[in-house]
């Protein structure tokens, strides 16, 4: 089988000044994953690594750079799935974690569950030795700016719809 990897960096509105950063970010992420496949690594390792790269890149709405909730905080969701076994692991509303996708994989591999949420996910992360990061590390100036400028109800419906996208 010829290895293949495809990544996306989100379907939300990408402002003109961030277009090239977004293009560069997905190219770098796909190459990180592809190198794993070229070395004979697994699809599971490749997708995890590609997503980690984008979580670490503040251009994208995941990990560092995540959008803010109504209180101006960050709560993140992530999932990983193995097509060989149909095993899956997920976390939801998790806070102060740099790479939720890694925690998802631990849920898949180290528990009998499919999804852990909120406080339970944080507790599990601690038990797995995943360090907490300060909330301020995950927030960017761009995410703070977007939160402050969030479009009110009644604005242009297409723009409102774009703002709803994860």
């Amino acid at each position: 089988m010829i290895p293949v990897i495809v990544v996306h960096g989100g379907a939300g509105h990408i402002s003109e000044e961030r277009v090239e950063l977004s293009r560069q970010g997905v190219r770098e992420a796909v190459l990180h994953g592809y190198r794993i496949l070229q070395r004979g690594g697994t699809a599971l390792d490749a997708v995890e690594e590609a997503v980690v790269q984008m979580e670490n890149n503040p251009v994208f709405n995941a990990g560092r750079g995540s959008v803010l909730n109504e209180l101006g905080d960050i709560e993140m969701d992530a999932i990983i799935m193995d097509g060989k076994t149909l095993n899956s692991g997920a976390v939801s509303a998790v806070r102060r974690i740099a790479n939720p996708i890694k925690l998802s994989r631990l849920v898949m591999e180290k528990t009998n569950h499919v999804c852990l949420t909120g406080h339970g996910a944080s507790r599990f992360a601690k038990a797995m030795g995943i360090p907490e990061v300060p909330e301020e590390f995950l927030k960017t100036d761009y995410s703070r700016m977007r939160w402050k400028k969030n479009l009110p109800p009644g604005s242009n419906p297409v723009q409102c719809q774009m703002g709803k996208m994860g």
Binding site: M1, I2, P3, V4, I5, V6, V7, H8, G9, G10, A11, G12, I14, S22, G25, R27, V30, G33, Y34, L37, G40, L44, A46, V47, A50, V51, F60, A62, G65, S66, V67, N69, E70, E75, M76, D77, A78, I79, I80, M81, G83, K84, A90, S92, A93, P100, I101, S104, C115, T117, S143, R146, W147, N150, Q161, M162, G163, K164, M165, G166
Partner: protein, 134 residues
Amino acid sequence: TVGAVAIDAEGNVASATSTGGRLNKMVGRVGDTACVGCGAYADNYVGAASPTGCGEEIMKVTLCRLILFHMEQGKSPKEASDIALAYMFERVQGFGGVVVLDKTGDWAARFNSKQMSWAAAKDDQLYNGLYKDE
């Protein structure tokens, strides 16, 4: 939201998705990403998918599982993605996009939003795009 799908030399597929969710969401909101069949699906018998877009609408149509259903019926990743995205728009006015591949390594990056940044690597070739028809 960010996501990835891959197939390795052994023919195993996988999918991963991660997100900060929706801007200004309610505290405790969980979107599609954490839900199997919505925020990701992978099955060696068919393929794998990872979505992005309006989370609530993706959940209502279980977008990834819907795409794999159409692939099970013989559609290509591109055809299956377009059918499922059109269905999501028609039924719940949802916007979004997906990266998909099947068990043979055929792949697609499709969206009904204005933009979706994506990249793919196969046969030492790198592909990427942001706007429709790229």
